[in-house]
C-alpha cells in the first residue's frame, strides 16, 4: 500500500514536472496577491467593479469582449452590480438591432441580454484601425496566455525605453514582459487615468490589478462556484474513502491475508 502510494505520487510529480518545464524560458513576472487563488479563493467585488471601469474607459475602445453579456455584470460570483446598475450600464450603450418591419437595421439602448458592444464591426476593421495588429478579444485572454494573470498584470506595467541596440518601428513599443519584447499596443495606463468612484487611488499598479482581476473573472466566470463545489466534493470523497477503507478492512478480515 505504502509502496503503491509512493509510486503514484512519484508519477504525478514527474508528470507535473514534465509539464511545467514547458515554459522554461519565461521571465520572472511581477507578483501580487490575488484574492481568487487558493482553495477558497474568491473575487474581490470592489476590485472587479473598478476593473470593469478600467476596461470600459480604457481598454474597450480597441478590445472587444464578445462572450460577455451585460447580464453577467449582475450575476453571482462576478462584479455583482445590482440589477438596476447593470441595466443602467447596458442602457448606456447603443446596440445595433434589426431588421425592423421596414427591413432596416436600427440602434436602441442595450438590454441585459445583449452581448458587450464591440469596438469594431469585425477583425479586419480592427486591424485596419490599429496598424494591422488585431487587439485580441479579451473574454478569455487570461486563459489564452501562458503566464495567466501574472503575465497580464506585468505586461500592463512592463513598458520601458528600449535598451540600446534595439530599434523600434513606428507604432511598436518595448515591453519587457511581452514575448519578443515588441508590442503594438502603446502604454495605456498612467497614474490617475480613471477616477474610481469608491475613492481608491488610481495608481498604475492598482488599475493593472483591478483590470486583471476583471479579466480573470471574464475568462472564468464560474471560478467561485468551482472552488466552493470543489471543496465540498473533495471533503465528501475523503469521507467516503475512509468509510470504504474500513468496510474493505472488515470484509477482507474474513480471510487471513494482507491487503
Amino acid at each position: 500500500m505504502k509502496n503503491f502510494l509512493r509510486s503514484i505520487f512519484l508519477i504525478i510529480f514527474l508528470a507535473g514536472f514534465q509539464y511545467n518545464s514547458n515554459a522554461a524560458e519565461k521571465v520572472e513576472y511581477l507578483k501580487t496577491d490575488w484574492s481568487f487563488k487558493g482553495l477558497f479563493g474568491k473575487f474581490d467585488r470592489a476590485s472587479l467593479q473598478r476593473g470593469y471601469q478600467v476596461y470600459t474607459e480604457v481598454c474597450s475602445s480597441c478590445h472587444s469582449m464578445k462572450y460577455l453579456s451585460y447580464r453577467n455584470l449582475a450575476e453571482k460570483g462576478g462584479p455583482e452590480f445590482t440589477e438596476l446598475q447593470a441595466k443602467a450600464i447596458a442602457a448606456s450603450f447603443e446596440v445595433k438591432d434589426g431588421p425592423n418591419e421596414d427591413g432596416e437595421m436600427f440602434t436602441r439602448p442595450g438590454k441585459l441580454s445583449d452581448k458587450f458592444v464591440m469596438p469594431y464591426e469585425n477583425i479586419k476593421a480592427a486591424q485596419a484601425a490599429n496598424g494591422g495588429a488585431y487587439p485580441p478579444d479579451m473574454s478569455v485572454l487570461v486563459k489564452a496566455r501562458g503566464g495567466g494573470v501574472d503575465y497580464i498584470y506585468s505586461l500592463l506595467q512592463g513598458y520601458e525605453d528600449p535598451p540600446a541596440g534595439i530599434t523600434l518601428d513606428d507604432g511598436v513599443y518595448y515591453n519587457k514582459y511581452m514575448y519578443g519584447n515588441k508590442i503594438k499596443m502603446a502604454n495605456q495606463l498612467s497614474d490617475g487615468l480613471v477616477e474610481y468612484s469608491d475613492g481608491t487611488k488610481a495608481s498604475v499598479e492598482q488599475m493593472s490589478k483591478d483590470v486583471t482581476t476583471f479579466l480573470m473573472w471574464a475568462a472564468e466566470p464560474h471560478l467561485e462556484s468551482r472552488h466552493q463545489m470543489g471543496f465540498k466534493a473533495i471533503v465528501y470523497l475523503i469521507i467516503l474513502t475512509i468509510l470504504v477503507y474500513f468496510s474493505m478492512k472488515r470484509i477482507w478480515s474474513r480471510i487471513k491475508t494482507e491487503v
Binding site: 447580464r71 465528501y236 470523497l237 467516503l240 472488515r250
Partner: protein, 169 residues
C-alpha cells in the same frame, strides 16, 4: 459480543452505502440540469412590440421565446361578441375581461392547447381561431369552444409600455 459486532458492521456498511448514494445523486443532478434552459435563454425572457400599425380587425404574430404570440386589435363587434358569451357554455370558463385587460387588444400565445400547433386566424365555427391539426375551434377571445383542446389559449404576461408598445414577458 458477536451480536454487537454484527451490528457495528451493519452500521458501517449502511453508512457507506448511504454516503455513496448521496454522491451518486449529487453527480447525476448536473447531468440532468444541463438540459434545462441555460442562462442566455433565460435572459431573453421579454420582447417589445410596436403595435402602432395594427388597425382594428387585424392580427399580427410575433415571436416570443420561440413561440408565436397573436396580437389582435379587435373591432367593437368582436368585443361585444366575446363579452356576450355565457360562462356556462364554455369548456374552460373564463371571462373576456380577464383575458383582455384592454378589451381592444387581445394578446395571447398562439399555441393550441391540444398538442401545440399554431391555429389559423379568423377560421372555424366561432369567428376566432381554428387549429388545423385536430380541429379545435376557438372564439374571438381565444377560448376553446369545440374540439379536443382542453383549455383556452394561454395569455402571457404582458404590459403596455406606452400606447403603441407592448412588452411581452
Amino acid at each position: 459480543m458477536s451480536e454487537k459486532k454484527t451490528k457495528r458492521r451493519d452500521f458501517l456498511f449502511t453508512a457507506t452505502y448511504a454516503v455513496g448514494a448521496v454522491g451518486v445523486g449529487a453527480t447525476i443532478w448536473p447531468m440532468i440540469d444541463q438540459m434545462n434552459p441555460d442562462a442566455s435563454v433565460k435572459a431573453l425572457a421579454s420582447t417589445e412590440v410596436n403595435v402602432s400599425t395594427v388597425t382594428p380587425g387585424k392580427t399580427i404574430t410575433v415571436l416570443w421565446r420561440g413561440k408565436p404570440v397573436f396580437i389582435r386589435r379587435r373591432t367593437q363587434e368582436e368585443i361585444a361578441e366575446a363579452k356576450s358569451v355565457k360562462l356556462e357554455e364554455l369548456k374552460h370558463p373564463e371571462k373576456d375581461e380577464d383575458r383582455a385587460k384592454n378589451p381592444e387588444w387581445l394578446v395571447m400565445l398562439g399555441v393550441c392547447t391540444h398538442l401545440g400547433c399554431v391555429p389559423l386566424d379568423q377560421k372555424g365555427d366561432y369567428n376566432g381561431w381554428f387549429c388545423p391539426c385536430h380541429g379545435s375551434h376557438y372564439d374571438i377571445s381565444g377560448r376553446i369552444r369545440k374540439g379536443p383542446a382542453p383549455t383556452n389559449m394561454e395569455i402571457p404576461k404582458y404590459e403596455f409600455v406606452d400606447t403603441n408598445t407592448i412588452k411581452i414577458g
